[in-house]
């Protein structure tokens, strides 16, 4: 998911940077003062989660936990993930500075989208529905992130048909998506019991959520 430097073309890099800029502007506005420590902790979680590797075929996937971040932070997933990626790029050499924009949008966009959409389900009364929502909230962002990364590679001239490439990415990320879904599901059921406020008090100001204009204002 961390696209390395020297792979993408300039238009793709600029597009990713522009989208991330918009996401950051929206996300930073959404972080309230009292949410700052939570954002920092989630940034730290994101930063370290990438070290948990899962061996899949020729590639090597790792946990992202973007869905959980999206669920807890909404749009503010952008600054959280941006900062985590920045540190990963500098300290670990994951991704890189030129691809920071693309990588941030690839991971934070789906996280914010699904976190926003599935939030009501996670906070609903029905525990089973909440678990299902939690699972989806963990799994779906990974798949969509994979598709976005595949698109970025495709528009940069990676060989092959987009459909085939996309399928390869989805298939490659499926095991990670399932693992992420399970992790997110357990987190949701844990938070519902122990700290339900963590799933509710996040930065969800009314208005269009970053990349998901479909999100309608609540009040």
């Amino acid at each position: 998911m961390h696209i390395s430097e020297g792979v993408l073309s300039a238009p793709v890099l600029l597009t990713g940077a522009a989208l991330t800029l918009a996401g950051l502007a929206a996300g930073l506005k959404a972080v309230k003062d009292e949410d700052t420590p939570k954002a920092a902790v989630l940034s730290a979680v994101f930063f370290t989660a990438s070290l948990i590797h899962v061996n899949i075929g020729p590639s090597s996937a790792h946990l992202i936990l973007s869905g959980l971040i999206g669920l807890m932070m909404g749009r503010a997933a952008f600054p959280v993930i941006f900062f985590g990626l920045l540190l990963q790029g500098i300290l670990f050499g994951f991704g890189g500075l030129t691809t920071l924009g693309v990588n941030t949008f690839t991971m934070a966009g789906p996280a914010a989208l699904f976190g926003t959409l599935l939030r009501p389900g996670v906070n609903g009364r029905n525990p089973a529905a909440a678990s299902v929502s939690g699972f989806m909230c963990g799994a779906l962002p990974v798949l969509l992130s994979g598709l976005l990364a595949g698109a970025a590679l495709y528009f940069s001239g990676e060989q092959g048909q987009y459909v085939a490439l996309a399928w390869a990415v989805v298939a490659g990320n499926l095991p990670v998506a399932v693992i992420e879904g399970i992790v997110c599901m357990f987190c949701v059921s844990f938070f519902r019991k122990v700290r339900p406020d963590l799933l509710k008090s996040a930065a969800f100001a009314p208005g269009a959520a970053g990349p998901s204009p479909a999100f309608s204002p609540a009040d």
Partner: protein
């Protein structure tokens, strides 16, 4: 290029046992001078590295000016001097006899399976490529010519890593055989005939003289002896060269990077909270 010492000094150390010390100090140099090949790598990427800093000015509008400003400062502080960064997929190459062997991996245990590794010459022209195979290891026959060799591994899904093998580290590089002017490498003619009575000259030349003289009566020419010792030492030292090549290129994240990153997160969080602190906030009087 710092890599030169890597190839030259160990072999220059052959003639005399005392030469081993300069050889070892020479080996240490590459790890401290990692900026060389990486700096070029950064320049080679299509876009100036300040591109991702662009988001931050727009973000200053509201909410997290401190974070944005700090991120901007961080980026601008690091980007210009940034020797580009290693990538999540790593590759390194070393000379092994007449071959150049490469190893590609994500983590130490996690090899690049069936990725594609390409060998490029100094001008960037691809002169060979192959699959990395099942264990991520792939050896190329040494190509003719001179100059640095670059190895690029593509491991799918945008994973890309590269490694530059300096010209002096290529198999059979002239610097390894003849070009070395290391401390122990005295002129063979001088050591053969020279009695080296002067104490000042005895340091390097005397040592190699000792090594060569006992061999010569047994009917082995000095050149053959040199070649044999060179081969032997090369075999002995190649694991060290390999390990250094791996260390020089960063390698996988360690505890230091992890703890350091967490420290950054905590520090920036504290900074943001501090700067956002309102004078009138409850419990806070300024």
């Amino acid at each position: 290029m710092r890599g030169n010492c890597l190839a030259r000094n160990p072999l220059a150390a052959v003639p005399g046992t005392r030469g081993a010390a300069p050889g070892l100090t020479g080996l240490r140099a590459p790890s401290s001078g990692a900026a060389g090949p990486r700096g070029r790598r950064g320049d080679a990427t299509g876009l100036p590295s300040n591109a991702p800093t662009a988001p931050t000015p727009g973000a200053v509008t509201l909410g997290g000016p401190a974070l944005a400003a700090f991120a901007l400062a961080l980026c601008s502080a690091i980007a210009p001097s940034a020797p580009a960064f290693a990538h999540a997929v790593y590759v390194f190459a070393y000379a092994n006899g007449d071959e150049i062997c490469t190893e590609s991996y994500f983590t130490r245990k996690n090899r690049v399976v069936d990725g594609r590794i390409a060998m490029q010459d100094a001008s960037g022209t691809e002169i060979g490529s192959a699959s990395t195979g099942a264990d991520g290891n792939r050896c190329f026959p040494a190509p003719p010519g001179e100059g640095d060799l670059k190895f690029v591994v593509l491991a799918g899904e945008g994973h890309r890593g590269e490694f530059t093998l300096p010209a002096a580290d290529r198999p059979g590089a002239p610097s390894a055989a003849e070009g070395g002017a290391g401390p122990g490498r005295a002129d063979p003619a001088a050591t053969g005939s020279g009695p080296s009575p002067d104490g000042a000259a005895a340091d390097g030349a005397g040592a190699s003289g000792e090594a060569a003289s006992p061999g010569a009566p047994a009917g082995v020419s000095e050149e053959t002896l040199r070649a044999v010792v060179r081969e032997e030492l090369k075999a002995q030292i190649s694991p060290v060269v390999r390990a250094l090549a791996e260390a020089r290129d960063g390698g996988t994240p360690g505890l230091r990077e992890i703890v350091g990153g967490l420290g950054w997160v905590a520090g920036v969080c504290g900074l943001v909270l501090w700067l956002k602190r309102r004078p009138g906030a409850p419990g806070r009087k300024d």
